[in-house]
């Protein structure tokens, strides 16, 4: 639907779809083994070559200068096969968006401009938390314009892979928090092993301890929440696009299985209860697809109130993805619970996506705050 409302996005859909088929689909189970199996560095490198790590960055910043629509089309297509890579693209894009909102273009140039390898172009970010909800436990001391950071940052996504991280920290004597660019290779940064997580296994996170490490402020002291919310307005839709892709993958798998699996002497798709489950799934997919397209369009064309309405779209799609992927397993019965099919992974990934950008109930309340304003 996204490419129907905006045909210019078609090439991105084709590119990402091809990438998903060639690079992700067949290796899904193996990639999902991380951290108990190897990380898919090769796939990441090719995603970098394809420009996926700089979708929303302007061309002069080393990106491909696209907006929310292209980001969503790519995330949606990739997530049908394996949402972990989408998690990596999302996290980096979120950090980039915050940096852009902060006007920290030099920093972006330093990171992406000098990146010869994919890992260097990544930016680690605690993508599953809204720092306004759970106050950061990293603190920054300002000594004559030089910031020194210490504390802990839990669940820093890509922290084990990226050279730089964008870390929320509280500046002494200041209200709120600010974002700091931190060199994760600096002495004083200690990383845990990869955190074993529900989903997104190949989009790993680490817990980080920071002890007297220099940080470069992005934006100004205390403006973290404003930057985060501005970036989140666009990125909520991107998170919904991942959920939407997962839903499509789950539905397609369930439908094709139901057409082939026999129980009671017929293909299970012929039992009306199974059809009902599939019908409910299909409704959710189509509603997600349509509303996502609408939200992208509204965002790109800056329709009045798009910021609020797109939050509602994202909340609904992410909730629906959790329900739908539960059914996606159910249609496959015992086989759906096994790693051999993608359904169990989609179920885990959908729940993971729901937590992007903060706690689900708090996102609802935040949305309502805006509605009530």
């Amino acid at each position: 639907m996204l490419t129907y409302t905006n045909p210019e996005l078609k090439p991105f859909e084709e590119l990402a779809g091809q990438f998903a088929r060639n690079e992700l689909a067949s290796g899904r189970e193996e990639h999902d083994n991380y951290p108990f199996g190897p990380f898919f560095h090769g796939v990441l490198a090719r995603a970098h070559e394809a420009g996926f790590l700089g979708i929303i960055l302007p061309e002069h910043q080393g990106g491909i200068g696209q907006g929310t629509g292209a980001l969503c089309v790519i995330l949606d297509s990739i997530s049908r096969a394996d949402a972990s890579l989408a998690g990596i693209l999302f996290t980096t894009a979120l950090a980039q968006q915050i940096l852009m909102e902060a006007g920290a273009f030099d920093a972006i140039r330093t990171i992406t401009g000098g990146a010869s390898k994919a890992e260097e172009a990544l930016i680690a970010f605690p993508a599953f938390a809204n720092p306004s909800e759970l106050a950061p436990s990293v603190f920054a001391k300002n000594e004559e314009g030089r910031y020194t950071l210490f504390g802990t940052c839990d669940y820093l996504v890509l922290g084990g892979l990226a050279r730089y991280g964008l870390i929320p920290a509280r500046v002494h004597g200041r209200k709120g928090y600010s974002f700091f660019i931190v060199d994760l290779a600096a002495p004083g940064v200690t990383k845990s092993g990869p955190v074993v997580s529900l989903g997104f296994h190949a989009c790993p996170a680490v817990d980080v301890k920071i002890r007297d490490v220099d940080g470069t402020i992005a934006g100004s002291e205390g403006d973290g929440a404003v930057l985060f919310e501005r970036a989140a307005e666009k990125m909520h839709i991107a998170a919904a696009a991942i959920a939407c892709g997962i839903m499509k993958g789950s539905f397609v798998e369930a439908l094709s299985y139901a057409k082939e699996r026999f129980q009671g002497g017929r293909e299970i798709v012929k039992w009306s209860e199974v059809r009902m489950i599939l019908a409910n799934m299909a409704v959710k997919v189509d509603v997600a697809d349509m509303t996502l397209a609408g939200a992208c369009r509204a965002a790109e064309e800056k329709h009045p109130g798009w910021e609020t309405k797109s939050r509602a779209v994202a909340i609904r799609i992410q909730d629906d993805a959790c329900e739908l992927t539960t059914d996606g397993i159910q249609v496959l019965g015992g086989y759906g619970y096994m790693k051999d099919y993608g359904q169990e992974k989609r179920f885990r990934d959908a729940k993971q996506v729901q937590a992007l950008l903060g706690m689900a109930p708090m996102k609802k309340l935040k949305y309502f705050e805006k509605v009530a304003e």
Partner: protein
């Protein structure tokens, strides 16, 4: 006000009083000892959770993720040491003889800490219940005593149940479907026993069980009329283990493929077949469904208890998180929405528990537990000295007439409406408990945000573990259809089930 001749008619009206008030009927009749026994069991389970389950649950989950071939012997040996594999085996068979309903409370407790470990204990009783449901007293006595011996020697002797086939999952759970299914596990009658060919899949505890209650069929064209229940020992010639499944959750508990290639099972290990069914008041087909219902009336309630347990586990993790985490400047527990969410989760647990408890009452009055819960039987079984059991009762169990007698009481003695009542309730308990499990896990994760995604915070493991509950012991769809079949269809004579 109500005339005496109206009384019965009014109570017979749907929903029948007797169907919806099992607990009311049962509480006065059940032996009082059950209460203290249940308290004891819950206390034991809580201690076991503190000492064994919680300290090891995440590690076992991780070990099996790293190496899916790893077998959970360490835990099984611990459970064996604690006496859990004989705890619900009647004393007359060498077990500890705790009352059967108390097992569901036990399972809820263990399930609240780790469903995989609850399964490592509970599935053994799925096997044992299947064996018992055949009322083949000689075989029950033999296997139960082997389990008890395994406890003494420290070599756990577990029993699994193998019914699901690669092409038939739902179909083997329902007599109206089985003849239409792709059934391939064949038990051919030969002199002195049966020869089995075929395979079974997804068998919980397969790789770690010493015995497997195998349901095969002597005529694959008419499986509903020709089921054969066999006790297959691990190591039998022609029997081997295939792959262990790579599951999303409940990783600690292996799910195995069992392969049979010209596997000969002697007559003495035949728990039930067409020939043994002769003389029963029901035809083989109906008797088969009765045995299935007999087992699932207990085990589906057990899965309801698993669901209650995991729903509670998720709730407890969320509560802990809410009590120690500041969100938006104040403790999460002091946000009104969070209090309501926690209350919703608590409510889900409570309703789920009530459903399995009510099913236990139904089983005590009309089903599996009935014989052992009659007051004279209950107290007799408790008080008989061990030497008397060993000298007098145990040898009796090997006599053919005991099997006949128990089948008369257990199978023929159960009315059709009682089968429907217990089976219907069990499906309600299963669906309500397992849906509550998933729902609470989902809510817990929503409440915990990023923390909920981490394996070391347990909630995500609960979510992965709980999804299986909606699938095994008949999918929740099959169980809903069973509720319709057992409790609803009769009020609409034109209704047909499994034949749309």
């Amino acid at each position: 006000m109500v005339l005496s001749h109206e009384f019965k008619v009014l109570l017979e009206r749907e929903p029948k009083f007797i169907d919806i008030m099992c607990s009311l009927e049962a509480t006065a009749r059940q032996p009082k000892g059950i209460i203290n026994e249940t308290k004891e069991v819950v206390a034991i389970a809580r201690k076991f959770n503190d000492e064994v389950v919680r300290p090891y649950a995440l590690e076992l989950d991780r070990l099996r993720t790293e190496d899916p071939e790893f077998l959970p012997w360490e835990f099984v040996k611990k459970a064996n040491e604690w006496g859990f594999y004989t705890m619900w085996i009647p004393k007359i068979f060498g077990g500890k003889g705790y009352c059967m309903p108390s097992m569901s409370y036990f399972i809820e407790e263990i399930g609240s800490a780790c469903l995989a470990m609850a399964n490592l204990i509970g599935v053994h009783y799925l096997g044992f219940a299947t064996l018992t449901a055949t009322w083949n007293m000689r075989l029950v006595n033999r296997l139960a005593r082997e389990v008890a011996k395994g406890e003494k020697t420290g070599a756990p002797c577990l029993i699994s149940l193998a019914i699901t086939e690669p092409g038939a999952g739902t179909d083997v759970e329902e007599i109206d479907l089985i003849d239409k299914g792709k059934i391939t596990c064949h038990a051919g009658k030969v002199k002195g026993g049966y020869v089995v060919n075929g395979s079974k899949v997804f068998i919980s505890n397969g790789h770690i069980s010493a015995w497997h209650m195998l349901i095969a069929y002597s005529d694959l064209k008419r499986p509903s009329d020709t089921p054969v229940v066999l006790a297959v020992p691990t190591g039998a010639k022609g029997f081997s283990f295939g792959r262990q499944e790579h599951k999303m959750g409940q990783k600690g508990c292996p799910a195995s493929e069992l392969i049979f290639e010209d596997c000969f099972i002697p007559d003495e290990l035949v728990a039930m077949d067409d020939e043994q069914c002769r003389g029963l008041s029901r035809k083989t087909r109906e008797a088969t469904m009765q045995v299935i219902d007999y087992v699932v009336s207990v085990t589906r309630a057990g899965v309801g208890a698993f669901g209650t347990g995991v729903a509670r586990g998720a709730f407890e993790e969320a509560l802990k998180f809410a009590g120690e985490t500041e969100v938006d400047g104040k403790l999460l527990i002091n946000h009104e929405w969070a209090q309501c969410m926690l209350a919703e989760m608590y409510k889900n647990v409570t309703i789920a528990r009530l459903c399995y408890v009510e099913t236990n009452y139904a089983n005590g009055m009309y089903g599996f537990f009935k014989t052992l819960q009659m007051k004279p039987m209950y107290y007799c079984a408790k008080m008989l000295p061990k030497f008397y059991i060993d000298l007098v009762i145990a040898p009796l169990m090997s006599k053919h007439f005991m099997t006949k007698l128990m089948r008369k009481i257990g199978l023929d003695g159960q009315k059709d409406e009682e089968i429907h009542r217990t089976s219907g309730w069990a499906s309600i308990a299963k669906v309500v408990g397992t849906d509550a499990g998933i729902r609470n896990c989902q809510l817990a994760l929503e409440m915990m945000g990023q923390a909920g995604l981490r394996q070391d915070r347990v909630a995500e493991k609960h979510l992965r573990d709980s999804k299986l509950l909606q699938i095994y012991e008949g999918t929740n769809q099959l169980n809903r259809l069973n509720i319709f079949k057992c409790l609803i269809a009769r009020s609409c004579p034109q209704a047909v089930v499994f034949d749309e």
